[in-house]
């Protein structure tokens, strides 16, 4: 028998199998290629000039000696130059592809994945995320900054094996983000409480979907997980804007991320995954539709292991089918052994 569960943050429904779930998964394991890599130390000239880096004292921009380095994508999906020119083509709406598309090289070494880095190195990646968001907040054309990571071919990273994150700055707030904002706002209007804070308290109390926690963060398998071993990381403190993160919190988010990605690697043998930061949009105008966002919304991180292809069912309905109950996933992951 299965259950049909609703995700409280998105109103998305998921068919979740009960019982013990499959114990074998077929996926293409992450493999590192050995060709020339523009994101390796000493190949800095192969990328556009850096827009941010955390560097050793005495090193020079666009030379060696860095821990994290951010460069514009040399084949960007959106470009920083130009005006949006919002317009219509008969019934349709369009604008120019203005925005930003940056690559965050998480390490100068080609032979390390994110979960194999030191805490201080991961903290530098988080500092780079924060610095780029704060910088792009100054560009009035940008409404939303999305930071994400594709690990392994099954997660869409079919051309680059160096450990990177990507940043896309968008001139519109994406629909998926608006859905979450609206649901959080409606919940607050009804209950005078943040829906993320409520779920956080509940998962900490119930513990059956809890994976791990530390002083500032908690990680759990969401009630209506779309994918087997899906994980959500929530700050224990209420905050709508990731860029307001403090020094101790950076250290703690790095610890929980490394812990989760190591568990994923150990429990499932290195599956492909997508990681994404779910932040609030920039507040551009007083009286904006989203003007209650600071109390409504709560930033978070999602980790989606990609062990199946989604099918026509998911594409047509937005419904998902998950053969592994999140309670079972949380139990396996929190133990940390092989599934």
């Amino acid at each position: 028998m299965s259950q049909i569960r609703k995700d409280i943050f998105t109103d998305r429904w998921v068919i979740v199998e009960e019982g013990e779930g499959p114990t074998e998964f077929h996926f293409k394991k992450f493999a590192r290629d050995a060709g020339f890599c523009p994101f390796c130390e000493r190949n800095e000239a192969a990328t556009p000039p850096e827009v941010f880096a955390i560097r050793n004292p005495g090193s020079s921009p666009n030379g060696p000696g860095w821990s994290v380095r951010v460069v514009p994508n040399s084949r960007p999906q959106l470009r920083i130059e130009g005006q949006l020119k919002r317009r219509a083509e008969a019934l349709h709406d369009l604008m120019n592809g203005v925005g930003a598309h940056e690559i965050i090289a998480e390490t100068s070494r080609h032979d390390r994945s994110l979960h194999e880095l030191e805490i201080e190195e991961i903290s530098n990646v988080i500092r780079a995320y924060r610095a780029r968001i704060l910088d792009l907040e100054g560009d009035q054309r940008v409404r939303y900054v999305l930071i994400f990571k594709n690990h392994g071919e099954g997660a869409g990273a079919h051309t680059i094996s160096h450990s990177i994150s990507q940043l896309v700055a968008l001139p519109i707030t994406p629909r998926a983000v608006k859905t979450k904002l609206k649901i959080a706002r409606d919940y607050f209007a009804l209950k005078e409480r943040c829906v993320y804070c409520d779920v956080l308290q509940q998962e900490l109390k119930g513990r059956k979907r809890l994976i791990t926690e530390n002083e500032d963060f908690v990680a759990f398998a969401p009630f209506a997980s779309r994918f087997p071993f899906e994980m959500t990381v929530l700050p224990k403190f209420h905050s709508s804007a990731f860029s307001r993160i403090g020094a101790t919190q950076i250290d703690n988010v790095s610890r929980i991320l490394r812990d989760l990605l190591q568990k994923l690697d150990q429990s499932l043998g290195g599956p492909p995954y997508n990681l994404s930061l779910h932040d609030r949009p920039f507040l551009r105008r007083r009286g904006d539709y989203w003007n209650t966002i600071e109390e409504d919304f709560h930033w978070h991180i999602e980790i989606l292991p990609q062990m199946f292809r989604i099918t026509g069912f998911e594409w047509a309905s937005g419904f998902f089918y998950n053969p592994v109950p999140p309670e079972l996933a949380a139990r396996s992951l929190s133990r940390g052994g092989r599934v």
Copy 2:
């Protein structure tokens, strides 16, 4: 340079590349396995008893001699027995996995894909879709019937290579369907016209995204295509319910589908694809929220070639990135030669 385009039916934004696009795609071509197949003629005993079939005169149920055969999935995501028992678990909402999950064997032959069948055989598949929807409309627990097809491993069909469609009957209208219904309703409220009829007229007039048409149907590359070579099939006649399709229309939809799938095969060399029928939900109550659906909504078919894995960008934002402009895709497909 790219454009950011909005899909008028879903409010989804897509970054569409301008220019000539990539000419090579890396995907796993469809491959037929040769093991035992429960959907082949004479293996009828290997499936649960059929719920519908189009049979040769004199043949018996669950024996050989059929053109299309519908059986319950032996490992269903949802089961037909039992009550829904809608309930809460603390903050979360859930119900039992009640519904239906059926397999529509499109042919008794293992060595034929849908686009390789005769028009009369494809028409029988369409008749099976109609018959199953009409039957399930009688089950008051069912709100929506989704019919879809996964062709090839890259489209999620990793276990079955026999040419099948799948049917899932759901006790809730999926979120993706509700989004389309709401947008169509708002459009009608504003303009007193169906948004699908309007786009149909525009694409027929503009012709630059038109792929093919016949007396009853038109196929075009949608303005904000998420995937390279994405195709939408719209009836030229306004109708919200697929199950009201008539005999000539069945013949014409079969012709256009075979034509499109053959073009896809010829132009791109057999890519994986998902096909789905976008129908209205069942009307269960007078005064229902969807009570204007007959004039608002217009059923359609989507064909999504799957030549890339989607990434953290799509998962987190609902935004898509498409490197092939739909105008170019329509030109290639309507010519029918190799891309």
